[in-house]
């Protein structure tokens, strides 16, 4: 940069930009420890009550002071977390298998319709959530399928398969096909080459795709909102419902835990990506 003042101004702007991104998250974390139950924006001292309350360990209640309501919502929250984890595990497994198979097919075979598949697989990612959500809702209801965990898992797989596909495809593009050619020349069957030569090299990409699928599945709100049954609320849908009913300090505590979990997962993802595997 020829002009030092220009660089200083740019640096200032950029740091403000990062402050803008992170300040809201820090606000939630800070206020999750605020003892003031009525106006949570006015600081009234440090407390862990809201965290204790989340796990049914605190007598302190917000507003009306109804302990029974708390424990009920604690159970509901933990049930929602369980639902989210169950959905995410199944979704990740299914979409990773399908997405990886698709990526291998498109990268290693020449066939008619290859270009079509490449374009078509972008659509589930680009389709607005709400359109896919109501499409699946009408579809399941018209077929007479009960909305349940299964419908949520199906819904998540429709778009997460594409995400896994993209990540794995990027990994394949960076591979040296000579290894597979060598394997074939040395007499290994196509299936053996695929399993013993290609798949191990793809492992980091597959892990990355799976991680991304897991994170997005855990966070999906819109599609789940439309196709979850009455008893199968996921964590984001549960929090959305809580926010709609009114703001309570416990939400700050859940939110802080979620932020913490996502930082850990993101760090794990970064570590996976930076690890030298080949």
């Amino acid at each position: 940069m020829r002009n030092p003042w220009g660089w200083i101004a740019l640096t200032g702007f950029s740091l403000l930009f990062f402050a803008f991104i992170y300040a809201p998250l820090l606000v939630i974390i800070g206020y999750s420890f605020n003892a003031n139950p009525v106006n949570m924006m006015i600081w009234e001292g440090f407390t862990l009550d809201w965290y204790a309350g989340l796990f049914g360990l605190s007598d302190r209640a917000t507003g009306v002071g109804n302990r029974a309501a708390y424990i009920e919502s604690t159970d509901q929250m933990l049930a929602a977390l369980r639902t989210s984890l169950t959905v995410a595990v199944f979704t990740t497994t299914i979409s990773t298998v399908i997405g990886t198979a698709t990526a291998i097919a498109l990268a290693r075979y020449r066939f008619r319709g290859r270009g079509f598949y490449n374009g078509f697989l972008m659509l589930p990612m680009m389709m607005p959530d709400i359109v896919l959500g109501i499409g699946l809702l009408i579809f399941f209801v018209t077929l007479g399928m009960q909305l349940s965990l299964v419908t949520i898992i199906i819904g998540h797989c429709t778009f997460l398969t594409s995400y896994v596909f993209i990540i794995v495809q990027a990994r394949i593009a960076g591979l040296d096909p000579a290894l597979e050619e060598a394997s074939a020349d040395l007499g290994a069957s196509e299936w053996t080459t695929l399993r013993k030569v290609l798949l191990p090299q793809l492992a980091p990409g597959i892990m990355g795709g799976a991680l991304l699928a897991f994170v997005i599945s855990m966070d999906d709100l819109v599609i789940t909102y439309f196709i979850s049954g009455v008893g199968d609320t996921t964590l984001p849908v549960f929090i959305f419902g809580m926010i709609r009913r009114g703001v309570k300090p416990e939400i700050n505590a859940i939110a802080t835990l979620i932020i913490l979990a996502s930082v850990i997962i993101a760090a794990l993802g970064l570590w996976l990506r930076s690890r030298k595997t080949d």
């Binding site: 606000v27 939630i28 607005p128 579809f139 797989c157 429709t158 398969t161 939110a255």
Partner: protein, 294 residues
């Protein structure tokens, strides 16, 4: 022999995605199209009879009564397009300088800041919106600070306004604008910039004639992937928007979960889909043309 084996394995690799997306992606979208032409039933059901006034209603003629022109839905649709466009413009203005800054940092810092940009992508959308709800409330942090500083006499009403909706969408869309933009900016040929400045072009000329054209793919890419989820967004206006910030996504949600007019909701979704496909086709056509010229 080898060819046949190849086709068996290829079939096995492609069958799952073809079946799965065929049944659970293509069919649901086709069903929306069918439902958008069905007659809404009296008590929330549908009658399997052709009816085109679902679309008529969107454009202002409810249920075939031509005299009663009231384009309330059209207005909400235009508002959604405007909000999405504003989101694109604001994220672009915010991210462009920062992408430059990050691309010129020493390696270690650059990776650290890129990580910081992607981190919110991993954290919950609803949690991030909730943070803004806390900040923008009349008794929230923003107003408290301004009141304390004596800059305002009474709390500003930001929550439940269009400003809050656009702010919320900008906030959640920043990583989607930043990453394609950064990829473009990072590839910028600095020698050309230097040459332009050495040959006497001023900074503005250099920016307009050299920098912008070279980073155009990133700008357009970012614009498309920010615009598309913004148009149909209903979570942001639901949490931060109130009645004045209502978008077409909220309308669709209402038709399905409270008004129970599924055909009308389907017609609205078809419009969202049409907007998205139009934007995508334009983007693809431009990208093709761009690579053809290069």
């Amino acid at each position: 022999m080898a060819l046949r084996r190849q086709s068996v394995i290829l079939g096995a690799l492609l069958a799952p995605v073809t079946l799965f997306l065929g049944v659970f992606f293509v069919l649901p979208l086709l069903i929306i199209a069918v439902f958008s032409f069905l007659t809404p039933g009296l008590y929330g059901g549908v009658e399997w009879a052709f009816y085109h006034w679902n679309y008529g209603r969107i454009f202002g003629w409810a249920d075939g009564i031509i005299e009663l022109y009231e384009p309330i839905y059209l207005r909400i649709l235009l508002r959604s397009l405007t909000f999405a466009a504003l989101t694109v413009i604001v994220t672009l203005i915010l991210c462009y300088p920062v992408a430059f800054w990050v691309s010129r940092l020493p390696d270690r810092w650059r990776l650290a800041f890129l990580f910081l940009i992607t981190l919110p992508f991993f954290s919950s959308l609803i949690v991030r919106l909730y943070a803004w709800l806390l900040i923008l409330k009349p008794t929230g942090l923003f107003n408290s600070v301004l009141l304390k500083l004596g800059l305002i006499g009474q709390p500003l009403e930001i929550l439940y306004t269009p400003t809050a909706v656009v702010l919320g969408m900008v906030y959640v869309m920043i990583p989607f604008m930043f990453l394609p933009l950064y990829a473009s900016v990072d590839n910028l040929d600095r020698a050309q910039v230097e040459a332009s400045l050495d040959l006497g072009a001023n900074r503005v000329q250099t920016f307009v004639k050299v920098v912008v054209p070279q980073t155009l793919p990133g700008i357009l890419g970012g614009a498309v992937i920010v615009f598309i989820p913004s148009v149909g967004n209903f979570i942001v206006p639901d949490v931060l928007g109130g009645a004045k910030g209502l978008m077409v996504g909220n309308l669709v949600e209402q038709q399905f979960l409270s008004s129970r007019n599924w055909p009308f909701g389907s017609a609205l979704s078809m419009i969202i889909m049409a907007v998205v496909l139009t934007v995508l086709l334009i983007a693809v056509a431009r990208a093709r043309k761009g690579s053809g010229n290069a």
